[in-house]
């Protein structure tokens, strides 16, 4: 991921959890900071990718509802992408 600038995130942790994180980080050959970030990022990605509910803000909910109620239209960008020639072929 192209991160332009690193930022600080401070978190409080109890001694037992801290010891656990340190042991797991050592076992993964990572420092504690890298370990916590990697584990949390994986969990964050999983939550976002498998949400059973996508909650919209008020503005987004209104705009989305208007779009739903409009008659169906051809999406030009999608049509263009679908017409683009593939540079591979299917085996089956």
């Amino acid at each position: 991921m192209s991160t332009t600038k690193e930022e600080r995130l401070q978190i409080r942790v109890g001694p037992a959890d801290k010891a656990l994180l340190e042991r797991a980080a050592a076992a993964s050959h990572l420092n504690v900071s890298a370990f916590v970030v990697q584990a949390a990022a994986a969990k964050a990605e999983e939550i976002l990718a498998e949400r059973s509910s996508i909650r919209l803000t008020r503005e987004a909910a209104i705009a989305f509802t208007e779009a739903l109620e409009r008659p169906a239209e051809v999406n030009d960008r999608l049509a263009t992408a679908m017409r683009r020639k593939r540079t591979f072929s299917w085996l089956d």
């Binding site: 498998e50 949400r51 059973s52 509910s53 999406n75 030009d76 960008r77 049509a79 591979f88």
Partner: protein, 173 residues
């Protein structure tokens, strides 16, 4: 020309995922750790495009979801269904060695066609994607996806209506 298998559900015994490298560590790790559909905690179905040796070159994970509009109570009060049933295309990754061939687009097209089919049998009003970063958001926008929050570059959820997918795919045929 490279020859690839059509999109198929990931079969952990058949498909080789160990060498998959999309350049996004979280997406690579998720694929490697995936243990199969019979694991209770899996809530998503995973589709792959693999090469002649069953090496995965692209994957997508898809889950049923709902679009919650309760932040605008007047809409829900009008009797509109809430949540709106939708397909969440939570992950789409292409191996770095296979980019710019149209593989990601082909896999996305497969999921979009699935949404049209689902909508005919049960309701599925939209396909939602959650982009990992600004580059991914731009890729989805080129495919025609609309950001839920067009004015906020930090919001990375986008959608296509099943009705517009159907109208577009029908005309393209």
């Amino acid at each position: 020309m490279i020859e690839l298998h059509r999109p198929a559900l990931l079969d952990p015994r058949r498909h080789d995922r160990d060498r998959f490298d999309s350049g996004e560590a979280v997406l690579d790790q998720w694929l490697r750790r995936y243990a199969g559909q019979n694991r209770r905690r899996d809530t998503a179905a995973t589709w792959v495009i693999a090469d002649v040796d069953d090496l995965v070159v692209a994957y997508a994970s898809v889950a049923m979801s709902g679009i919650d509009r309760s932040a605008a109570p007047e809409i829900v009060a009008k009797g509109a269904p809430d949540p709106v049933p939708a397909l969440l295309l939570g992950r789409l990754a292409v191996d770095r060695r296979y980019t710019n061939l149209g593989i990601g687009t082909a896999l996305a097209a497969h999921v979009l066609a699935t949404a049209v089919e689902l909508n005919e049998k049960a309701a599925c009003r939209a396909v939602v994607v959650t982009a990992l970063n600004a580059n991914a958001r731009a890729w989805w926008e080129r495919l025609g996806f609309h950001p839920f929050e067009p004015d906020d570059p930090d919001r990375l959820d986008l959608y296509l209506l099943t009705s517009e997918i159907r109208a577009t795919l029908t005309r393209a045929r």
